[in-house]
């Protein structure tokens, strides 16, 4: 991690020859864009698309990769994060792929990116108009743990029959006193479609609501795309007497002192000692720089 060239930020370069721009052929990209347009027209509704096998495995973000590949242009600046960090292995690998097949500029700075692909987190820096935010989605169907049959789940969506989901949440309250869902916390979109926010922690759910950026969701293995156009109403399911809430930590970030970010618990020795640091590495480093001009990071 001490290499002099930051692998996460680079200017535009020439893509490697032998591939079409962004790997997929233009017909495939067109078909994916059609699915995206449908998805934008019906916020939160899952649109089937003819997902292709990519040179990375299903489960590694192939849905997000195909969505990104279909909307990316030469002028874009790409940011890729996994678990909130720009330097996790899979983020590095996806960024490396797009550098290879598109030659686009990459960045770590959330506000400098025109296109951001993510797994499991929404950055702490607010997204803005004009940005496209692409989620990698493992299980697009929010009802799957209640109704594993896609045929039945589709019917439930069509009839807006979401009672069983509320029953499940209510059962949690009777059993545990609160809703016991830490991530994959279901949301209602535009007062109509129940949607799986992808496995972001519930901490990030409120960031989806009325977000100025275009949010696209790609599930490669499950072959579904869905979307939240800018300024869409997104409400985390709750009850009047048990309103939705997000978790808080008892300590600030060890590196930057933030008290309002999602913290990551890092085990630092075999005596069970831990420290808590921001999961959003870009946000944390920028705060540190503003405070002291230097940055601490893991690894």
């Amino acid at each position: 991690m001490n290499s002099s060239v930051s692998p996460t930020c680079s200017p535009p370069s020439n893509p490697e020859p032998g591939f079409n721009f962004a790997y997929l052929d233009e017909q495939t990209k067109r078909s994916i864009r059609r699915a995206i347009l449908k998805a934008v027209a019906m916020p939160g509704h899952q649109i089937p698309f003819s997902s292709r096998e990519m040179p990375m495995s299903y489960g590694w973000g192939t849905g997000g990769i195909q969505v990104t590949a279909s909307v990316i242009g030469k002028e874009d600046t790409l940011k890729v994060i996994d678990q909130g960090a720009d330097d996790t292995t899979n983020a590095v690998n996806i960024r490396r792929f797009f550098r290879k097949v598109c030659g686009v500029a990459t960045t770590e700075r959330t506000e400098d990116a025109t296109l951001i692909q993510t797994r499991h987190r929404i950055p702490e820096t607010p997204l803005k108009e004009g940005q496209v935010f692409v989620y990698q989605v493992p299980m697009p169907e929010p009802l799957y743990f209640i109704e594993p049959s896609p045929t039945e789940a589709n019917k439930m969506h069509a009839l807006e029959e979401y009672g069983p989901m509320y029953v499940k949440l209510y059962e949690d309250i009777t059993k545990f006193g609160h809703i016991a869902l830490a991530y994959d916390y279901p949301v209602m979109v535009n007062d109509r479609h129940l949607m799986n926010p992808s496995p972001i922690p519930r901490f990030d759910n409120p960031k989806m609501d009325m977000n100025p950026a275009l949010q696209l969701f790609g599930a490669g293995r499950a072959k579904r795309i869905y979307a939240l156009p800018p300024y869409t109403k997104v409400k985390s399911l709750d009850f009047e007497d048990h309103p939705f809430s997000v978790e808080k930590w008892e300590q600030p970030c060890e590196f930057c002192g933030a008290t309002d970010t999602y913290l990551d618990e890092v085990v630092i020795d075999d005596q069970g000692n831990r420290m808590w640091i921001c999961s959003d590495t870009d946000y944390c480093e920028r705060r540190q720089q503003a405070q002291s001009g230097s940055t601490k990071k893991l690894g």
């Binding site: 591939f19 489960g59 496995p199 293995r221 075999d270």
Partner: protein
């Protein structure tokens, strides 16, 4: 002892790749495998990779096997990823397997069948004794002389014999697909009122039709289909099958480009075709008769083709009004779990970092735990000591 966070830069990824390549090559004093060797001497592996990779190209399949260090699922994945980059120019005409240049053909339901039975190259009656002489190299084996089959010859399907008596249900009787008679070969072939579906161009949605099911099965994982088929034999959706016919050999692939207006042959490929015959007691609408399960795979892939035929038949249960009591009869269960490229990815993606979700889960479990302890205390019930749990874990580890 300090811990290091599991993050890997580009450097680590490159090193992993270099290490993989070196390990794959093995001892450099041992000659490197050639693609021709793989293609010639590991033909069944090549066939499996072509079938599950959904691309008929023995050269590329051999390359994929070499590149994947002999991991056949990984090799099929390589072919699939390559397949993504290929344009879809034409759809072929339906294969006419009755004009197959037959290398092997057997029927279990008649002692003899018009066209004859031919064992061909099969493990069926080989004593599975390790052949230690094979361990030495430079063995030569000569193929026994056989009557060269006439490539123009048409070998009717065994099921046709039953069809003449009206005792076997022709495909398309239930479900979708309309049958028409093919005058020349005397067999029936499927014509669709609509174009056959292509699950690689339009994602599978359920409930679906038999054409999509068959396409899914022929690309599906051999092991999965084998177990599903086996489960029907053991009573989970029982329907006793007979191997009506198993045939393997070369067939022509024909396209009919619109701009030409006539058919041209573009390839000869080897396929394995299986027709299973199963009893059907009949329903209100349909008289008692035999039904069929169909299996077709690229290459010589008999175990898979047979398994596919059993599963195809099991999946017809719904259309036939049979009771659905086995997983192999459940269309969604079978079709959504048959693809090993999808399955291997989702199972193995658990290796990717999940520490954000885990953090959320950790917070939740801690909260649930403290709620639990407070409840226990209020009720004056014992609260398990943290150290007890830890020491019992230690005991378990040393046991």
């Amino acid at each position: 002892m300090p811990y290091v966070a599991v993050k890997g830069g580009e450097h680590a990824i490159r090193n992993a790749e270099a290490l993989l390549k070196a390990r794959r090559r093995g001892d450099i004093n041992v000659p490197e495998l050639s693609l021709e060797q793989i293609k010639q001497q590991m033909q069944l592996a090549v066939n499996r990779v072509m079938a599950e990779g959904s691309l008929y190209d023995p050269d590329l399949a051999a390359l994929a096997i070499k590149q994947s260090w002999g991991d056949l699922v990984e090799a099929a994945f390589l072919l699939r990823a390559y397949r993504t980059t290929l344009p879809r120019l034409y759809y072929s005409q339906p294969l006419n397997t009755s004009t197959m240049v037959i290398q092997r053909r057997i029927s279990a339901i008649f002692k003899d069948a018009p066209g004859g039975q031919k064992l061909g190259p099969t493990f069926d009656y080989i004593h599975r004794l390790l052949d230690f002489k094979l361990a030495a190299e430079d063995n030569t084996f000569s193929a026994p002389a056989s009557n060269k089959s006439d490539p123009q010859e048409t070998t009717l399907r065994v099921a046709n014999t039953l069809a003449q008596e009206g005792l076997v249900m022709s495909p398309g009787t239930v479900g979708n697909g309309v049958r028409t008679n093919d005058e020349q070969s005397g067999i029936e072939s499927i014509t669709h009122s609509t174009e056959p579906s292509d699950i690689t161009r339009q994602s599978l949605t359920t409930p679906t039709n038999r054409d999509a099911r068959l396409q899914n099965l022929t690309r599906g994982d051999e092991g999965f289909l084998l177990s599903m088929a086996y489960s029907t034999q053991r009573g989970y959706g029982k329907n006793h099958p007979f191997a009506g016919e198993v045939r393997m050999g070369g067939v022509e692939v024909v396209i009919c480009p619109e701009e030409l207006g006539f058919e041209i042959s573009i390839a000869d490929i080897v396929v394995t075709e299986v027709q299973m015959v199963n009893q059907f007691k009949g329903s209100k609408e349909i008289p008692p008769q035999f039904t069929q399960g169909y299996g077709l795979t690229f290459g010589y892939n008999e175990r898979k083709a047979m398994a596919m035929a059993l599963v195809d038949r099991a999946l017809q249960s719904k259309d036939l009004g049979e009771p659905l009591d086995g997983p192999a009869q459940d269309e969604e269960f079978v079709l959504y779990h048959s693809d090993n490229i999808e399955a291997q990815g989702f199972v193995q993606h658990l290796k990717l970092p999940h520490y954000i979700d885990f953090q959320a889960e950790l917070n939740l479990v801690r909260k649930l735990r403290s709620d639990y302890e407070q409840t226990q205390k209020r009720a004056n019930l014992p609260v398990p000591n943290k150290n007890d749990t830890a020491s019992s874990l230690e005991e378990a580890a040393t046991a």
